[in-house]
């Protein structure tokens, strides 16, 4: 079976490392990007099945990335989970209406991420 793929987009190397360990534990092959532009370039090549996406990042933020991703060929395929320190309800609603499949408020842990993956139907 081909391993499932997840792209982790976050400007913090530590967050990427923590998230990677959890997501790999769920049986995914993980790639990383440090901002939206890098992530977009990656997706133009290979679409991952799941994207964990930070909101505030240099160069291109998560929201801009998400809107552009959804216009790419095959760009509606990936399940996108925002994963950010932004916890206001209005902002969460904004992310969902922009096409995010789910939303994780930082801080998170393995149990939260696992349950979110299950709820969007990728594990």
């Amino acid at each position: 079976m081909t391993p499932r793929t997840c792209l982790i987009v976050d400007d913090s190397r530590i967050i990427r490392k923590v998230a990677r360990r959890i997501v790999e534990g769920l049986g995914f092959e993980v790639d990383e990007a440090a901002d939206g532009a890098e992530a977009l370039a990656f997706c133009a090549g290979v679409m991952p099945e799941v994207i964990l996406l930070d909101w505030s990042m240099p160069v291109m933020d998560g929201m801009t990335f998400l809107r552009r991703l959804r216009t790419l060929p095959g760009g509606t395929g990936p399940k996108v989970l925002f994963c950010t320190i932004e916890t206001r309800a209005e902002r969460i609603a904004e992310a969902l209406s922009a096409g995010a499949d789910d939303y994780v408020m930082k801080p998170f842990d393995g149990e939260i991420l696992t349950s979110k993956f299950a709820e969007v139907g990728v594990v």
Partner: protein
């Protein structure tokens, strides 16, 4: 804490709550009892236990028992059970009841996530339900009644969309909306106590509770659940849990892990 203290804690849990405190939980017990000792005005856990053994004050005994219960729960734990409940059972039960509210019991609800998950599932299925949620722990029930959860708790098992729909954000907390709260009645109940009235439920969720039952009390606790269920009522256990050994009071539903249907009472009595 001495081994003797722990033996006495084990007896206390078994006699009052019907629950088994396994020896590997000695360290955990000591850790959990620290805050109870402080709250109750004792210098140390040992001092509190010495006082309890010398003069078994009920309130202190219960405070100790509460601290030793397993509070672990989260929203939509074992999601498949909630999907079965909402998509298969509720529509059928609602028809059978002629649209009267379906009666549901969350037995051992801890901090309430299971009860709210049932309420949300019922609303999304468009079926009227009355939910009673009980626990042995007053502290857990206080939190359940408050309907307030941290960012950590609210996210565990709930999609953001569902969270926004049913919970209001108040500073750092997420609080169950009034329309959800109107559906759930929280009360304290001990599963070792036999029913004293004839209130019956259509569906009981009692998951990850009876696995911790004292072997000598387990069948009695199952009987108490069974007596609270209508004939053909449904019992949800945790996916790895089973009713008492060779019980014919319940039959497993194939392909629906953790779901058991009560045999008609006359049948189990005749056997």
């Amino acid at each position: 804490m001495t081994l003797e203290d722990f033996d006495r804690l084990q007896s206390l849990m078994a006699s009052r709550a019907g629950l088994r405190l396994t020896r590997d939980r000695m360290k955990l017990a000591e850790h959990r009892l620290g805050p109870v000792a402080r709250r109750e005005g004792f210098e140390t856990v040992d001092a509190m236990l010495a006082a309890l053994w010398a003069k078994p004050v009920a309130s202190l005994g219960w405070a100790v028992i509460e601290a030793l219960l397993n509070p672990e729960t989260w929203f939509r734990r074992e999601r498949a059970s909630f999907d079965t409940f909402a998509r298969e059972l509720l529509p059928a039960l609602s028809r059978a009841r002629g649209g009267e509210p379906v009666k549901v019991w969350s037995a051992g609800c801890s901090t309430g996530q299971e009860a709210w998950s049932l309420a949300m599932a019922a609303r999304e299925a468009g079926v009227a339900v009355d939910i009673v949620a009980t626990d042995l722990s007053q502290r857990a029930l206080e939190k359940a009644r408050s309907g307030a959860y941290t960012g950590f708790e609210i996210q565990r098992g709930l999609r953001a969309e569902t969270m926004l729909r049913w919970f209001d954000q108040v500073e750092d907390a997420w609080i169950a909306r009034a329309e959800l709260r109107a559906m759930v009645h929280f009360a304290r109940a001990n599963l070792v106590d036999a029913p004293t009235d004839d209130h019956r439920f259509d569906v009981i969720f009692c998951r990850h509770v009876l696995d911790d039952a004292d072997p000598a009390r387990r069948s009695e606790m199952f009987d108490n659940l069974e007596r609270r269920l209508v004939d053909d009522g449904c019992l949800f256990l945790g996916p790895a849990e089973r009713p008492e050994g060779d019980s014919i009071a319940f039959r497993a539903v194939a392909g629906r892990g953790g779901l058991f249907v009560k045999s008609p009472a006359a049948l189990s009595r005749a056997a």
